[in-house]
């Protein structure tokens, strides 16, 4: 059994394997609170700060220095579908957290954790005296409520989140005492602690029993009267889902009554007004080294706008204090630079480095046997890859600020290998023609297009939606022309993104253009482009992925793919960090050899803006599909001078 409260050497993020077992307690010291709370404490409506904090608060490692209280962090949010704006500034504050460099996992809600030697059981030690944002105590019972009454209730959780499902099935959670819980997978699940630090690890600590049990059939026999009072619900399940929605959907942010453990708590619902306001949680469990209770900033406000361009204008006007979402696009850099003085802001680097930002996702599990045969021929994919002039796409669409590469871990990540990123990336029509001929498409019709094995012109229909602000439709036109140059007929179907998703999740697509995470440390936990995994946005071998989950569904993959499944399961059972890395490298070697998807472009780091007096800004700030930063570190950001710049 190993205990961790600082360094998860087990995860091997390049940290020496020292186990610190001393809990990080402060010597007896007086804690301080924000001046805005003084009045309430004096009036007796709020207990003094020492009573609000747990016995052992988390002493937050600030980026630069201990800060000062005051000010409102002003941001903008789109009128709909932009809940991640709040998730990533407030919401992602889990049992454990990644450090600001994304290299190791540190304690957060849990003050420490133990891992059994076979990496199957994980024991979290909670903080005694910790409270929800409404002042009620937070304990192991809340986690047990999530486990017994939400997670394992098939009505409330028809589909379990993969974070909590190990190779042997769903996790078993046991309460050891009021401040100790044990997550038991029965078999090795070595990626669990990493997963708990990523976004979806929020579940166990997001369900306040004292508040949510009133909507639960088991605890409230009169729940039906509440259902009848709420026109939006037809039964208690719907009512419960309304009140206890998942954090990454709008539902969570539409119920300001639900207590949280976040640094700021919503005052009004997202979507209801022109401005969403979140005010400091007086019970937040983190302090700085001087004993000042976090967060430093009094409020976060999100002004609701309808158009991304309006956010840009607000930034020019100095109405945005800290933001990267919607703003950090290469096309905005010039105009943001022009207005730096006026808006009194500066740039900071953002390491948003997915495995690839433009991928030709060919459907390896196509229902049409002819297309399936051709697409599964590796030579076909190699030929198509060589046919694309990646550099021209980068120059035309991204001002040259990107690199031609395959879908692979980024340079600088510990899993990087040059051949992963560079194989088949050179633009060479001769090579392309050679490989396409080898793939059996060596006959052409009178217009010069290649014929498939059935003697008819071989056509691929590419779905493309205008997503990520990356000008995919324009890129797709270029790609279709490159393909035509080597005699391959690609038809482009521009479509709405929800239709695109509906089509590919039903396995009805030939191919589509999308991006993929897994460029950095997230390659371990979300290898969605390296291993077939069922997902909402990425499908290149959906039936194999289904087979991988349950051998009675989907369709049986070839041996090479089965070997990849096995190899990835072995990663989870790894005993040491070095071992884990070696096993993951093996998965990547096998996957890259298979060359499942054709990656085109890896972007350069992006940027965000922070007004000149915003301090303790993590830089460069890593973000990823699963890494919902800067959330656990927003609480330690502060305004120099204790107020917004005028």
């Amino acid at each position: 059994m190993k205990t961790y409260n600082k360094i998860p050497d087990y995860l091997g993020k390049g940290v020496a394997g020292i186990c610190l077992t001393i809990a990080s307690t402060l010597p007896a010291m007086a804690y301080e609170q924000a001046p805005m709370l003084d009045e309430q404490v004096e009036a007796g409506t709020l207990p003094p700060v020492d009573e609000r904090l747990p016995k052992e608060p988390l002493i937050m490692d600030v980026v630069e220095q201990a800060g000062e209280y005051g000010g409102t962090l002003r941001r903008a949010i789109l009128g709909g579908g932009d809940q991640h704006n709040m998730v990533r500034t407030i919401g992602s504050d889990n049992m454990v957290r990644w450090d600001p460099q994304w290299t190791e996992v540190r304690p957060n809600i849990a003050k420490s954790w133990d891992v059994s030697d076979d990496a199957s059981t994980f024991t979290f030690h909670l903080r005694e005296g910790m409270r929800w944002s409404d002042g009620e105590p937070f304990s192991a019972d809340d986690i047990m409520f999530w486990y017994e009454d939400v997670f394992t209730n098939p009505d409330l959780t028809p589909n379990m989140d993969s974070t909590f499902v190990g190779p042997e099935g769903p996790v078993k959670v046991n309460k050891i005492d009021d401040y100790t819980v044990e997550f038991d997978f029965g078999t090795a699940n070595g990626l669990f602690i990493q997963n708990m630090a990523y976004g979806f690890g929020y579940h166990p600590t997001a369900y306040p029993k004292h508040y949510l049990s009133q909507f639960h059939e088991k605890y409230n026999p009169d729940v039906q009267t509440m259902v009848e009072a709420d026109p939006a619900a037809a039964d208690w399940i719907q009512l419960f889902n309304l009140k206890a929605g998942p954090m990454d959907t709008p539902l969570f942010w539409q119920n300001p009554d639900r207590p949280t453990l976040h640094a700021w708590h919503l005052k009004n619902a997202y979507g209801s007004t022109d401005r969403v306001v979140a005010e400091r949680n007086p019970y937040y469990y983190k302090v700085d080294e001087k004993g000042q209770q976090l967060p430093y900033m009094d409020r976060i406000t999100y002004d609701q706008v309808e158009d991304v361009e309006t956010i840009l204008l607000k930034a020019f006007n100095g109405e945005i204090d800290y933001m990267l979402r919607h703003l950090g696009r290469p096309s905005n850099k010039a105009s943001l630079t022009d207005n730096m003085e006026r808006g009194q802001y500066r740039f900071f680097d953002v390491g948003d480095l997915p495995a690839n930002i433009m991928i030709l996702m060919l459907n390896l599990n196509h229902t049409d046997p002819v297309k399936r045969e051709v697409i599964n021929n590796k030579d076909f994919r190699i030929g198509l890859s060589h046919a694309v002039d990646r550099q021209e796409i980068i120059d035309l669409l991204y001002f040259g600020a990107a690199t031609a590469a395959q879908t692979a871990p980024r340079e600088g990540s510990e899993l990087y290998k040059e051949w992963y990123a560079k194989q088949y990336t050179e633009f060479d029509q001769e090579l392309a023609n050679k490989h396409l001929d080898m793939a059996g498409l060596d006959k052409r019709d009178e217009e010069g297009f290649r014929l498939g094995p059935d003697g008819k012109r071989f056509t691929l229909v590419f779905l493309v939606a205008d997503v990520f602000g990356l000008q995919y439709p324009d890129a797709m036109e270029l790609i279709a022309n490159y393909a035509a140059d080597v005699g391959l007929d690609i038809q482009v179907r521009a479509t709405d993104r929800s239709r695109l998703i509906a089509l590919h999740t039903a396995n009805e697509q030939d191919a589509y253009l999308w991006n993929c995470s897994g460029g950095q440390a997230d390659a371990y936990t979300t290898p969605i482009c390296y291993v077939p995994i069922v997902g909402n946005s990425v499908s290149w071998a959906r039936e194999w992925a289904q087979w991988g989950v349950d051998n009675t569904t989907g369709s049986e993959p070839p041996q090479a793919v089965k070997d990849i499944f096995t190899a990835y399961n072995e990663v989870k059972a790894a005993g040491t960090p070095e071992d884990m890395k070696a096993r993951m490298q093996k998965v990547l070697d096998m996957s890259m050899e298979q060359f499942f998807t054709i990656g085109l472009v890896q972007n350069d780091p992006v940027f965000g803006i922070a007004r000149n007096n915003v301090r303790n800004v993590p830089e460069p700030l890593p973000i990823a599909g699963q890494l919902w930063f800067p959330a656990p570190y927003t609480a330690q950001m502060y305004f120099e001078g204790g107020a917004n710049l005028p």
Binding site: R74, G79, G80, G81, H84, L156, T157, P158, N159, M160, D161, S162, F200, P231, A232, A234, I237, N241, L242, G245, P246, D248, T249, P250, L251, Q254, G271, S272, T273, D274, R275, V277, D303, V305, D307, T310, L313, K314, N317, E319, A465, V467, F468, D496, R497, S498, R499, L500, I501, A502, T505, S517, I528, G535, N536, S537, V538, A624, G625, W628
Partner: protein, 327 residues
């Protein structure tokens, strides 16, 4: 007259019934539903979460056949005035739209007023003083107003007021007043902002109206009845207002039916660009994410307004123009 009114009102019922069916079907026609759109949103944010989407699918009853969904929706509207739930906002559609409808009507009525106040006098002037310097000036600006797309004008004005006046753009009040209770300062701030959408939306409307008024009036000005009145010694102004202008107004009244719905649904792009709290952005967003009850309700309300508007213009026409018969 009563029979005419009754008959007209009776016609509205089957019309609205058909409209509600068409609305509901059309909104459901595109493949996918709100949850696909939510999944796409989450996919774009990089958080791929199949588990959540499956949980919510039963939440919203999106799996039931279309006629069941339609029946439930209609029953709610007719029996309880309940237009259903907005999937994305998880509140009743009725809670969502009245506030915005208020702003929409406020801005639209002011715009209409702006149009009529500017366009009618100018139109009359440029018809009476045909080919004068004033007529050419009005014509020139009128055509520019017609030719420039509204959203472009909006962007231009926003840019100018941002660049040269340092004004905070977008929305109806400056950020410091958002969420504050109403005060004199906030009202003044509102006035400083609200003229922009009014002018933007109003210019093209006014331009069109000037041209129509001018053309209509020119047709009338040389009619014998005008010459007769003049010969009888009627003052020129009284004559103009009492006879030719009144006849020339006929087309405006018959188009009131179209004005009402265009006030609600029109200028969506302007509202999005200028970040106005009107129904336009709500409808656009609802259609994009297939938030079907919200979109359906808005379209239904717009249709209702069209039908009512047509009724009003029919009645007004019958009243103002004795040549129209009640049949």
């Amino acid at each position: 007259m009563m029979g005419f009114c009754l008959r007209r009102i009776m016609y509205m019922i089957p019309t609205l019934f058909l409209v509600s069916i068409v609305t509901f079907v059309i909104i459901q026609l595109p493949p996918g539903d709100y949850l696909d759109s939510l999944a796409a949103d989450m996919g774009e944010s990089g958080s791929d979460n199949t588990a959540v989407v499956e949980t919510l699918r039963q939440q919203y009853g999106l799996g039931q056949p279309m006629y069941v969904q339609y029946y439930k929706w209609m029953k709610g509207i007719l029996l309880h005035g309940n237009f259903g739930i907005s999937f994305e906002k998880n509140v009743l559609v009725t809670d969502l739209i009245w506030d915005r409808l208020g702003w929409t009507f406020g801005i639209s009525m002011l715009t209409l007023l702006f149009i009529w106040i500017t366009a009618l006098p100018i139109g009359i002037y440029s018809a009476v003083r045909k080919y004068s310097f004033g007529d050419y000036t009005a014509t020139f600006f009128g055509f520019i107003g017609l030719a420039v797309p509204n959203f472009l004008l909006a962007l231009l004005m926003m840019y100018v007021s941002f660049k040269y006046f340092g004004q905070s753009v977008g929305g109806l009040v400056s950020p410091e007043y958002i969420g504050e209770p109403w005060s004199q300062a906030k009202f003044i701030n509102l006035l400083q902002h609200i003229w922009m959408p009014i002018v933007v939306v109003g210019t093209s409307g006014a331009a069109a109206l000037i041209r129509i008024m001018r053309a209509n009036l020119l047709d009338e000005l040389y009619r014998p009845y005008v010459a007769t009145a003049r010969a009888k010694g009627m003052s020129e102004f009284q004559l103009l207002m009492k006879y030719p202008v009144r006849v020339a107004l006929n087309p405006f009244i018959s188009t009131i039916g179209w004005i009402l719905p265009s006030l609600v649904s029109g200028e969506i792009i302007v509202a999005v660009v200028m970040n106005l709290p009107t129904t336009g952005p709500l409808l656009l967003r609802a259609l994009l994410v297939q938030d079907m009850y919200l979109a359906g309700s808005l379209i239904l309300i717009v249709s209702l307004l069209t039908v009512i508007g047509t009724l009003i213009s029919d009645l007004l026409l019958a009243w103002i123009d004795p040549r129209i018969r009640y049949q």
